[in-house]
């Protein structure tokens, strides 16, 4: 397996006058489960479309699994499932599998048959008659039967009820345990990604705000809380202040790095993933003049 699953260099996509994605430079090591987060319209789908070749970049370069992505380049090791888990609705499940077999040189039908059997989804059902959760499972089974090294899912559970969400993610996580691969999933709900992902990419207004392994990111940030009156004298040391937020006469500063120990008026604590993302998005909103951000929390 290649070391780097995704390497993007100054990748950009413009629609008319508007940049949907700008200057996106990323390096995702192979084997990670990547959470791609950001508010609606942040550029998540644009980035995914570029990754799977449904769109051409306006600028920049993209390598997947060590191969340059270009026009008419077949990426048989990359699988993609869109938000609606699109399949041909008038196909029966066994026809979906047949299509997969005919369209993909790498195809392991038994994987899909076993998985669908376990989920009690009959191969003779029409796709259009399945529940949303079952259709998603068929789409995932068909994608996994390709044994992809990179699996890309756009908001995979957004349209599903809680039980179907859990089942679908359980299928994915089990598949990842079976066979090492890189998974990218986008979401605008951060909380659901905390247990699923070990790598995070935060997008906003078409730009990457934060990217890295989640454990490193959480270790590398602290939230300092203290009196608002002395905010400019907060004990940040050499740390960079990402964002500050006032609540009454208290102020909270998210800092990158480990702040020097303790001015007794100030309290430093670790942040969880959700707080981290919120602060980065809020700081982006401050600098772009976007005002208060739409809730990132579902």
């Amino acid at each position: 397996m290649t070391e780097t699953a995704i390497a993007a260099t100054r990748l950009g996509k413009r629609y008319g006058q508007k940049w949907a994605l700008r200057d996106c430079t990323l390096r995702v090591p192979a084997g990670r489960v990547v959470g791609l987060v950001g508010p609606n319209g942040a550029g998540k789908s644009t980035l995914m479309n570029l990754l799977v070749g449904l769109d051409r970049p306006t600028t920049g370069e993209l390598d997947l699994l060590g191969e340059r992505v270009g026009p008419n380049r077949a990426l048989d090791r990359v699988a993609y499932i869109d938000q609606e888990h699109t399949l041909y609705r008038n196909f029966r499940v066994h026809e979906v599998l047949k299509a997969g077999r005919l369209l993909n040189p790498r195809w392991h039908e038994q994987d899909a048959v076993d998985r669908l059997h376990e989920l009690n989804i009959p191969l003779t059902s029409k796709v259009g008659r399945l529940s949303g959760g079952q259709r998603a499972q068929v789409a995932v089974a068909a994608a996994l039967a390709r044994r992809p090294d990179l699996l890309i899912l756009d908001e995979p559970v957004a349209s599903l009820d809680p039980v179907a969400r859990r089942d679908l993610m359980a299928t994915l996580m089990a598949a990842k345990a079976d066979r090492d691969c890189t998974i990218v999933l986008s979401s605008h709900v951060v909380s659901e990604l905390e247990r699923l992902c070990d790598h995070l990419v935060v997008l906003d207004h078409g730009e990457v705000r934060l990217a890295g392994d989640i454990d490193d990111l959480l270790d590398g940030h602290r939230l300092l809380t203290g009196p608002a009156a002395t905010a400019d004298r907060a004990p940040v040391g050499t740390c960079r202040v990402v964002h500050q937020e006032r609540a009454g006469d208290q102020v909270s500063l998210l800092v990158r790095g480990a702040p020097p120990a303790a001015d007794p008026a100030w309290h430093a604590r670790r942040v969880n993933l959700e707080e981290l993302v919120m602060h980065y998005l809020a700081s982006a909103a401050d600098t772009t003049g976007g005002g208060k951000h739409p809730a990132v929390l579902g």
Binding site: G31, R32, V33, R166, M169, A170, T171, M173, A174, K176, A177, D178, S191, E194, R195, L196, C197, D198, D215, L218, R269, R270, V271, N272, L273, E274
Partner: protein
């Protein structure tokens, strides 16, 4: 067999939660030397968590010498954690109670205390360990 749980939003990384739960089970004698830990896939599927997290937890347990992976068979408990004698535990508990009292006196609430303890535990490096 141990039943893992993972709570998100607690600030404790999921892999550490798994490590703590194994240690806890070892202390309470729920796990013994030679017991097999659930496979990565079982944990990932049951808890719906990233298998990398489970792998990382098991690596950490191996690093601590508490468990060992055997290729093709699974991960097995290598060493048990001796629980402290009851008197010694009571002593420590008394000390903790008096610390808690002073924390409350100082105006901290339960959440604040819990957060401080979690942080302190996470960052505390006893002498001689790495």
């Amino acid at each position: 067999m141990i039943e893992f749980r993972v709570e998100t939003g607690s600030g404790v990384p999921p892999y550490l939660q798994l490590v703590h739960q194994v240690e806890h089970a070892l202390r309470l004698g729920q796990l013994r030397v030679g017991d097999r830990l659930p496979t990565v896939k079982e944990v990932a599927k049951r808890l719906v968590i990233n298998p990398n997290t489970v792998l990382k937890a098991y690596r950490e347990l191996e690093h601590k010498g508490l468990a060992k992976g055997r290729p093709g068979q699974g991960t097995f408990v290598e060493r048990e954690l001796a629980g402290l004698p009851v008197e010694r535990q009571a002593e420590l508990r008394t000390a903790l109670d008096s610390w808690l009292a002073s924390a409350y006196q100082a105006g901290m609430d339960a959440d604040g205390i819990a957060a401080m303890v979690a942080t302190a535990l996470h960052e505390f490096r006893p002498e001689g360990s790495t």
